[in-house]
């Protein structure tokens, strides 16, 4: 009996969490699952179990679906590997190496996040389309006989990798900042070369972050629609996201089949998560122990400048060129450019439109909405992620494994499908949030829970438990101990997570589509509408301003403290 009481008492926190996650994540997913097994879309008012069937899954067997899946897996795998290489490399340089301009490299690492993948893809289509891409015009201009064709499989992979590398960067940067050099030095002394030390100690210790961001990137590139549409589609590269998009956009809509695809993806992703969980739970990755952390920079010797150069190349490809392209396209008075010379003609470029845009109530309102929603969602999302991660990795409560799966589940569902589930959920739940910004905040928290969770987990695993336990023994309540010891030690990781969520929320479109109202339009919707109108110039202008808004917010967030952890100074 008492044992039962204790069980219940111990279970209460997890129970509360499960309820929160249940509403946030499970309910929308259940709706989607129901849709996947129903003949008709189970909207509020017509939810029922009477039309259950497995017919929707037939679509998975179609050669189209299989082909798209194969393509997507291939593309996502290559893009993830590339993105991971870029992200981890940059993270290492910015966190641990004695490269020139480390702070700048941090900026390089996160800057591509300012460009939503839709904008990045558009920019690259401006740059690299075979007929009129700016780069091709430049090549022509200087008499080079090469034609860059971004509309191809390699192009698609490159653009995806460019814009997903920051995920790896942020998570891995957090992890590497928490490294204890003693562990590396031990390898160095025992005969390990620098490279060997990195590959034997440093990166494996960041494994939770690396694996975590790997899973994230893989899943996200697999379902990224904008790049697939803008880059893949013209190149006739068929992918799963286009496939889902078509299902959703077909007339009549084939939402139930889209849900079936989503459910299948979820299953696959859960398996991947389980594998990753096994790898992470089996070992320990504590790098911050009670015997001190003395962050030390790794000396790169003569590789300093070449590596810095590589980072610059990435910056050029991911940020400078695309922003340049966007700028030209936002300023130019005609979307058609046949040679670069045309741009120098009088009247070819004008700031008028951008000026108009900044002052337009539309822009101001959506910028405000975006900022508020993103900041709230990022902070709350990080908080929830922390609580979940803490419960999973620092307590013995029953059901903590389940929590992890729940937290990771939204990753598998394409945002557009999840958006539907969220719509149904928040229409059904009798809380007065539907139609307000709060419903957007909640939706973003749900959609980005996996990202937040992964971000927090990787750093929580690095902090030795003894540090927190000692605070408890010295008389602090658990919460005090967490806020005095654990959180500050994880600061870099937490700030990274907030930043990550912030930027993701700023640019998220699909999940918001079903939930916004005329008062709660977001910048991302403005961009998409502009693009959908064929108003590339508008889209480019909003994108530019939007980059500025994100930049400002990100700099503010960063100045709240992504310092490294090495003793109070």
């Amino acid at each position: 009996m008492r044992t039962l009481v204790r069980r219940i008492r111990q279970g209460v926190p997890t129970g509360v969490l499960l309820v929160v996650l249940g509403i946030l994540v499970v309910l929308p997913m259940l709706f989607i699952a129901l849709a996947a097994f129903s003949d008709d879309v189970p909207r509020p008012g017509s939810i029922g179990l009477d039309s259950l069937s497995l017919d929707n899954f037939a679509i998975l067997g179609s050669s189209e679906a299989l082909g798209a899946l194969g393509n997507s897996v291939f593309i996502a795998a290559l893009a993830s590997v590339l993105a991971m290489a870029i992200g981890c490399g940059l993270a290492f340089l910015a966190a641990r190496a004695d490269v020139p301009g480390r702070r700048f490299l941090y900026f390089v690492g996160i800057a591509p996040m300012f460009l939503p993948s839709l904008v990045g893809a558009l920019a690259w289509s401006l740059l690299g389309s075979p007929a009129t891409g700016f780069l091709n015009l430049v090549f022509q201009g200087i008499g080079l006989d090469v034609t860059l064709n971004i509309y191809s499989m390699p192009g698609l992979i490159m653009v995806l990798a460019l814009y997903y590398a920051p995920y790896a960067f942020l998570l891995v940067h957090g992890a590497l900042s928490l490294m204890n050099p003693d562990l590396e030095e031990a390898a160095f002394v025992h005969g390990g070369t620098r490279r060997r030390t990195l590959s034997w100690v440093t990166f494996p210790l960041a494994l939770p972050a690396i694996l975590g961001s790997g899973v994230l990137i893989f899943a996200l590139t697999m379902e990224n629609f904008p790049v697939a549409q803008v880059i893949g589609n013209p190149g006739q590269v068929e992918t799963l996201p286009s496939f889902i998009y078509r299902l959703m956009n077909a007339s009549p809509s084939r939402g139930t089949e889209a849900a079936a695809v989503a459910i299948t993806l979820t299953a696959v992703l859960l398996i991947v998560t389980a594998l990753q969980q096994r790898a992470v739970m089996r070992r320990k990755f504590t790098t911050v122990t009670g015997k001190g952390v003395k962050t030390k920079l790794v000396s790169l010797g003569r590789w300093r400048w070449p590596l810095f150069g590589l980072a610059l190349v990435y910056f050029l490809l991911a940020v400078v060129l695309p922003i340049g392209a966007l700028l030209i396209s936002a300023l130019q008075s005609s979307p058609y450019v046949s040679s670069l010379g045309q741009l120098t003609e009088p009247g070819a470029l004008s700031f008028y439109m951008i000026g108009q845009l900044i002052l337009s109530p539309d822009f101001l309102q959506s910028a405000g909405n975006s900022a508020v929603t993103a900041i709230l969602a990022a902070l709350l999302g990080t908080a929830v992620s922390f609580v979940v991660a803490y419960t999973v990795y620092r307590t013995n409560s029953a059901g903590r494994r389940v929590l992890e799966f729940v937290a990771m589940a939204p990753l598998a569902v394409p945002a557009i499908v999840l958006g539907l589930g969220l719509l149904w959920t928040w229409l059904v739940i009798p809380l007065p949030v539907y139609g307000t910004v709060f419903v957007l905040v909640i939706a973003f928290m749900a959609v980005f829970l996996p990202q937040g969770y992964r971000g927090v987990t990787s750093s929580i695993l690095q902090v030795d438990r003894d540090l927190e336990d000692s605070a408890v023994l010295l008389g602090a309540r658990r919460a005090t101990a967490v806020s005095w010891v654990t959180l500050p030690l994880m600061r870099v990781g937490m700030v990274s997570t907030v930043l990550l969520l912030l930027m993701l929320c700023m640019r998220e479109l699909s999940a918001a589509l079903f939930l916004f109202t005329s008062d709660t339009r977001l910048l991302s919707i403005l961009i998409f509408d502009n693009y959908d109108n064929g108003a590339m110039q508008g889209a480019a202008s909003v994108s530019l301003l939007y980059c500025v808004v994100i930049l400002i917010i990100a700099l503010l967030a960063k100045s709240f403290g992504a310092k490294t952890v090495d003793g109070a100074r």
Binding site: G290, S470, V472
Partner: protein
């Protein structure tokens, strides 16, 4: 406060670290836990502190049951008023030394002035007064260890657990801190559990010593007593009796019982041997062996040859190969006898009262 552990069992994953352990530490008592590396000392402390959840058993501190597996009681660590110096220090690397040490006082919501003063005092004791504002990870190993110690001392808990708190300090400092610790413990009537591998530390600090083996207590007693009367050969071995030999009874002789060392040609005379022992072993402390040019003829005398001479400061340690017998360790006070050379022929002698014949292990 009295600390009582009853039937405590703890397993990490599958591996049992503590196995049905019972100990009582009396109010104000200082108990030293001794035992081989990996025998479960730290685990025991963590159970008392509430950092591990045993699978079975009950823990009482004072009059409160803080843990009871059956009744589902588990008081959280911060409400047990137990201080602990971690073997891994657990110094917070992102805080200054002052902040580290002031933390427990902050938790007790003491006024700022008092905090400052008590922290300063404690830092003075551990010799870190001048480092107060240094980041805690910018210290040497021994300095960090002292921060960990100071942090627990300043708290004045009712039970203090110290897990090798002085292992990285030099002998002088260790001596001094050991005295300070003992003084504080007695003044505040603290109940202490102390893990140390330093024999003299154990003896200096302990009211009682508990000997652990494989997750259990095999002997618990006052220091002199445990030292004089180890309950088994393996305890004796652990307490520094380096001459331990298997033997078989050869009946009684004048002045005691006679034993033959297994595998050797040598016999030993021992006094006060209890009856039928399981796998008996003869144990002789190296300090009780006398080396000289002539046999003493009042007990055991063996002829041997000096194999190793090791200088030990205040004493000299010899290893002597007995003729037809095993090697014997002998420690001789520096002033008491002339130095012997390697290769010298000597008589090694031991009084029958100095020979203990003990069971190899005790079953608990």
């Amino acid at each position: 406060m009295k600390v009582q552990l009853e039937n405590i069992t703890l397993a990490y994953g599958g591996a049992v670290a503590i196995d049905d352990l019972d100990i009582t530490v009396e109010d104000g008592e200082s108990l030293v836990l001794l035992g081989k590396s990996g025998c479960g000392k730290t685990s025991t402390m963590r159970c008392v502190a509430g950092l591990e959840t045993p699978t079975r058993g009950r823990i009482t501190i004072g009059d409160t049951v803080v843990f009871d597996a059956e009744r589902g009681v588990a008081v959280p660590p911060n409400r047990r008023n137990v201080g602990m110096v971690f073997q891994s220090y657990a110094v917070w690397p992102h805080r200054t030394i002052f902040q580290n040490v002031a933390f427990p006082l902050r938790q007790q919501k003491l006024p700022k002035d008092e905090i400052r003063q008590r922290v300063a005092e404690t830092l003075e004791i551990v010799g870190l007064a001048e480092f107060a504002d240094r980041g805690a990870s910018l210290l040497s190993g021994g300095q960090m260890q002292r921060v960990a110690l100071a942090r627990s001392l300043v708290m004045r808990p009712s039970v203090l657990l110290l897990d090798e708190p002085l292992s990285n300090l030099d002998a002088r400092l260790r001596d001094r801190l050991r005295l300070e610790l003992r003084e504080i413990q007695q003044r505040l009537n603290l109940t202490c559990v102390y893990v140390t591998h330093d024999q003299s530390e154990a003896l200096a600090l302990a009211d009682r010593i508990a000997l652990m083996q494989g997750g259990r207590i095999v002997q618990i007693d006052r220091p002199e007593r445990i030292y004089e009367n180890p309950c088994s050969a393996s305890v004796a071995d652990f307490l520094g009796v380096s001459n331990v030999f298997s033997c078989v009874p050869r009946g009684t002789a004048e002045g005691g019982s006679l034993f033959g060392l297994t595998g050797h040609d040598v016999e030993v005379l021992a006094q006060d041997v209890p009856g039928d022992l399981d796998a008996p072993k003869a144990c002789i402390r190296p300090e009780d062996i006398r080396l000289s040019g002539d046999p003493l003829r009042d007990g055991n005398d063996w002829l041997g040859r000096v194999e190793v001479v090791a200088y030990q400061g205040a004493s000299v340690r010899y290893r002597v190969a007995l003729k037809g017998g095993p090697e014997l360790d002998a420690v001789v006070g520096k002033g008491t006898a002339p130095l012997l050379e390697v290769g010298a022929q000597v008589w090694a002698s031991a009084a029958p009262s100095a020979v203990q014949v003990l069971p190899s292990e005790v079953r608990t």
